[in-house]
């Protein structure tokens, strides 16, 4: 029953076309990235073709699109690792450098993209896609690019985000007039057009939602959640005692005063 409802498998030619359309209408949401990744998983038989398509799209001159395609690799690596699909895992491993060079090109690094890619590499590393050394190497490389970042336009967006992540787009225009066109970027680089920046602000808002989710999302590992709790939980304090009093008095159906009468010897928590 489930397979009947899932997206159908296509032959290689149709799959290429379909995937192309999918990439053309890609949004920055997780759902869109997951949809594309799922398409790759369904059409494993023409994985090579589909990778080719994605690499072609990565060459397009739209930095926003490139970073959206990066979202697909993140989702795909998670799906592939879960199912141990060796072909895709190897493809991602082999092409990671290529992806990075396209998304954060060394000659034209964009801090806003680098930030996302670094997080993504970390996520992939956690999934076990890269060895520790490889992950470190990639991270170092990205870090290096961050420091040499020279694109004033998208960097301005990045700076604005840092100042106030919840900033509204029109406020940003007001505050960062130079980010939206008029100034000529240094060197021979093309100016990033205004529309692209606005689009990026919208998309970053979508990514922000994802970031918020990641605060409470649990990992896949068996002990990941319990370990995280162990790390994050504070020691017993006054607040716990009060919560315990509340709960107990309600359980026994007595008032807190009555409870305190029944359990008088109250060692101060600090002395414990």
């Amino acid at each position: 029953m489930p397979t009947a409802e899932a997206e159908a498998e296509w032959d290689a030619f149709e799959a290429r076309l379909k995937f192309s359309t999918l990439l053309g209408s890609l949004s920055a949401s997780v759902a869109a990235a997951q949809k594309a990744a799922r398409f790759l998983m369904v059409n494993k038989h023409c994985g090579e073709d589909l990778f080719e398509v994605a690499l072609e799209w990565l060459e397009k001159d739209d930095m926003n699109l490139r970073i959206k395609i990066w979202g697909i690799w993140e989702e795909l690596s998670e799906m592939a690792m879960r199912e141990q699909h060796v072909d895709y895992i190897n493809r991602i491993r082999d092409n990671i450098q290529h992806f990075m060079d396209n998304i954060c090109p060394p000659e034209r690094p964009i801090a806003a993209n680098i930030r996302i890619v670094r997080k993504g590499v970390e996520r992939m590393h956690k999934l076990g896609l890269f060895s520790n050394t490889r992950a470190k190497e990639l991270d170092e490389m990205l870090k290096h690019r961050t420091s040499s970042s020279q694109n004033p336009d998208l960097d301005a967006v990045e700076a604005a985000h840092k100042q106030d992540p919840g900033e509204e787009a029109h406020d940003m225009k007001h505050r960062w007039p130079n980010a939206f066109g008029d100034n000529k970027p240094s060197g021979a680089k093309r100016p990033t057009d205004k529309k692209q920046i606005e689009q990026r602000i919208e998309e970053d808002r979508e990514r922000h939602k994802r970031l918020k989710e990641s605060i409470w999302q649990i990992g896949n590992g068996e002990h990941e959640e319990s370990d995280k709790m162990w790390e994050e939980c504070s020691d017993i304090d006054e607040g716990d005692l009060m919560a315990a009093e509340d709960e107990t008095s309600e359980m026994l159906g007595i008032s807190i005063d009555e409870l305190r009468r029944r359990f008088p010897a109250q060692t101060p928590v600090a002395a414990v």
């Binding site: 899932a6 799922r38 649990i218 319990s226 017993i236 716990d240 709960e247 409870l259 359990f263 414990v272």
Partner: protein, 400 residues
Amino acid sequence: MTDQANIGPHPSFVHTRKQFFTQQEIEILSSHPKLRSAKEDSTRLQVVNLMDNMRQHIRLPTRTLATGVMYYHTFRLTRADLEYSPYDAASASLFVACKIEDTLKRSKEIIAAAKNYRLSAAEQIPWDSGNFDAGAKNAIGMERLVLETIGFDFRSRVPQEMIVKLCKYWCLPKDTVYRTAFDASLDLYRTYAPLKMTSGIMALACIELALKIHNVTLPSLDTTDEDGVTKQTGHRYATPIVKFADRGRVMETVHDLLDLYEHAQAPFTTRLGAKYSKDDFVRIKLEFKQIMETENLARYASSDELESDEIKQNGSTDNMDMDTPQSKTRSTTTSPKEVNGISKEESLREQTSMKEGTLRYMVDIERAKHEKEVVYDYFHDKTEEYEVEEEVPKPKRRRQ
């Protein structure tokens, strides 16, 4: 005619959520024809298993599951009068819990998770594909019922945090005792224990079980406290935070868990059940039995305590389950000795049909109680108009 004219507007009914149930109350509620069947236990395991799988699939943290399962249990027990599928109730409970724990998920994502969790990535159906619209609508419809059942009282009890704190406090090994206790705390939601106990008691029960499994002893658990007061109440835990934890209740919770491990059959797996054999649990159960015999503890501490409290407190124990203004009387009436199962059951169940007046939800029990006491007199005189609700169940409700 003139009498009629003198009657003001109905003061409306007040509903407060019952946060804690006793074993006895749970048994009374489970005796409803719909819940009495032997299948009910396996339904419960199945539903909680499903909820656990769903929440792992959409990566919800334990606290959301804990809250959701509490709502589900309460709903299942008190709303037996409704026709619904337990799976819809489970999805709706999880949906409400997501909002309350601030781990927002769309209703469609939750419904889709129920289907997708066992499928491979390629087979999964995207939540926005339209396949889950009907299910999501259902969940949203049931959301209101769940909210009413919990009386818009969003407090919940999550023992996991307390487990961490106590394990750290007692310097227990993280890789063995803590992890086992954490797993046990998740299994606990397959029982009714979370409805009966405070988070401190649940945490202690999980830790005690984990200690036995790993054969670790905790000095403070096994030495008798010198403090006269704590001894008197049967308390044996030296940490101030758990001083309220009654040993009998902790043991009751441990046994709820052990019973679960004994009876849960595949495919309704429990976390610890997958790691340890039934023989282990039988052995541990015997050990705990000995402890209970030496300490002279009954299997169900929560019921006994209710009884004795009632005598001491002249009935203020069950002041939470009053649904009608009339029920406020108890502080003035003398309690009849016999247990009246039916009226108790009625008082525990949600009231679905109101003759007149509005139903209001109140979180502060004291305030609700006070208000009911104030309006009681007015109701009492007009016997003819309220006879069904007023006179009959009132005095019988107090059990001894």
